[in-house]
Symmetry: C2
Subunit: 141 residues, 2 copies
């Protein structure tokens, strides 16, 4: 696994698109075991929406799949990844926010964290510029 | 808490509506601390949708709220309840399916289980009549 993976690059592109639209800079991308991009998206609750946008796939397709996400997954997306039985979750960074990573591991999902500077920089910029939007999204207000 | 609570009755009515439409007989209802019904719905992933249908409420409204659900919540709905910081989850029955109840407790959510015969009967009837639909919904196929 590396930050040059097509899936990871797509997740970062989605995060940038989210930021450029004035929204939350979080992106995700679901990739099959053979490297095919099954779904991608950006904004909050993005892994859940990426899964829903991937359409209904056979259970086996999810087991072999990797969810690339620019930021540590929120509790709802953590639950979505477990519900769909995603085999692996690759996280761009978990310095600005820590979601349900420990629970993913507890439930047998492989977790990889890159601590990617680009992902971290985007989140820091956003949290500094729009703290109210971020706090509302994570349910702190 | 009792099975005569308006919230629980609404969740069971929703489960019956789901069954009568030929779908999954799972219902849920979100009730505020003062007893107001904030949202209700039926079918799979119903607690998540009930939360999303409740609109955006202040964080405090969720903390005092109770999620009534006819069946033990799936992993995604468990994550949704944690994400929204729901204070209490009341479950009709957990004999036909066990979802994320233990994780809810682990995260400080109060969990009440009624083992209601009506809820159990509806699920048993559905699982017997449409096993393929049920297995697909829980990601077993």
């Amino acid at each position: 696994m590396s930050t040059s993976d097509a899936g990871f690059r797509a997740a970062v592109e989605e995060a940038e698109a989210g930021y450029n639209e004035g929204g939350v800079p979080i992106g995700a991308c679901l990739v099959s075991s053979d490297g095919t991009i099954l779904g991608r998206g950006h904004n909050m609750r993005v892994q859940k929406e990426t899964l829903e946008n991937s359409g209904r796939l056979p259970a086996k397709a999810y087991e072999g799949a990797t969810m690339y996400t620019s930021l540590s997954p929120c509790d709802m997306c953590t639950g979505a990844c477990i519900m769909y039985k995603i085999g692996r979750v690759v996280i761009g960074e978990n310095k600005t926010y820590v979601g349900g990573e420990e629970y993913l591991k507890q439930r047998g999902v492989e977790v990889v964290v890159f601590n990617d500077e680009k992902c971290k920089g985007l989140m820091e910029k956003f949290m500094c510029e729009k703290p109210a939007v971020w706090n509302e999204d994570i349910g702190e207000q």
